[in-house]
């Protein structure tokens, strides 16, 4: 549900940054680059892919959604369940589990 260089490298290897740029472009996240006003390709927080893949998101077209799902390996039904079905996970619980 999150696209960042680390997760995309597992799928695309050394083409991960190109995939990151394409996802950012198709999903309307903003420009990727190292200059001001751009999303740094190595931003650890990554891109929230679930939000753009959900059925309820009508700003991103079906072809773009299909391509984003393909690039990120995210199951669109799972994204939909997360955003529109509320099947989320608490960050507070995760931090406790991780001992942070």
């Amino acid at each position: 549900m999150n696209a960042n260089l680390e997760t995309l490298a597992k799928i695309h290897g050394d083409k991960a940054e190109a995939a990151f740029r394409e996802v950012a472009d198709l999903g309307g996240f903003g420009p990727v680059g190292t200059a001001e006003g751009q999303i740094h390709p190595s931003y650890a927080g990554g891109l929230d892919v679930a939000g753009v893949l959900a059925e309820s998101n009508t700003a991103v077209g079906p072809e773009a959604k299909a391509r984003i799902a393909e690039l990120t390996g995210v199951d669109r039904k799972a994204a939909d369940a997360l955003i529109d079905g509320g099947q989320t996970t608490s960050s507070a619980d995760k931090m406790k589990k991780d001992g942070k």
């Binding site: 420009p31 891109l47 929230d48 939000g51 998101n57 989320t88 608490s90 960050s91």
Partner: protein, 201 residues
């Protein structure tokens, strides 16, 4: 014959609850928002690196300000048109977790580098490094329905207040923060800096 207009006192829409400051969030895309869990924390599946900044001294000041330039003509005394030539979005306050090296590193973008050796020390080395922007938000329960949340979200922010605190026995140490939003310039023009939203269902 006149007709009454209905007053709307909006006393359920007041801000009177603690908020939580979260950083390193996943950036939401077009027409999307930070994905939340039912407890008001960021969803851990989409926000894998979500970072809670911890307690503040007196909450967070959330701000959106535009600078409007007024234009005049000789024939009229009042302005005839205006132009918005600057927008600023920020989250400011004071954090008390000054001995938490993760917090302090996050407050020192482009300057602080975190280092640790397991079970021995945690430190921030001060010098120069690449600036890292982060998606940051204050999330708070709504007075109108405390099971729902409001969110003030800066897509690409940077703390410009540095870090400074008083180490003392007589007062609680705290360090100021002031996260300023930077535009993501090719997003939709109505949505380049951040958003402010609340859950309604």
């Amino acid at each position: 014959m006149t007709t009454a207009s209905t007053p709307q006192w909006r006393t359920n829409a007041i801000a009177l609850n603690q908020g939580q400051l979260w950083g390193n969030l996943a950036l939401p895309g077009a027409a999307a928002r930070v994905t939340l869990h039912t407890d008001g924390t960021p969803d851990a599946i989409t926000n894998t690196t979500a970072f809670h900044y911890g307690a503040t001294k007196a909450g967070s000041k959330l701000s959106v300000k535009s600078q409007q330039t007024k234009f005049y003509v000789d024939e009229f005394r009042g302005p005839i048109v205006t132009n918005i030539d600057q927008i600023d979005m920020s989250i400011a306050g004071e954090l008390v977790g000054v001995t938490d090296m993760d917090v302090m590193t996050n407050l020192l973008p482009g300057v602080g580098t975190y280092a640790t050796t397991a079970s021995t020390f945690k430190e921030i080395r001060i010098g120069i490094k690449a600036i890292t922007y982060q998606c940051i938000a204050v999330i708070f329960p709504l007075i109108e329905d405390t099971t729902k949340f409001g969110i003030f979200n800066i897509y690409s922010g940077l703390n410009d207040a540095g870090a400074e605190w008083t180490q003392s026995r007589k007062e609680l140490g705290f360090t100021p923060f002031n996260f300023i939003g930077y535009e993501l310039t090719t997003r939709a023009v109505t949505d380049t800096l951040g958003n402010y939203w609340k859950q309604i269902a």
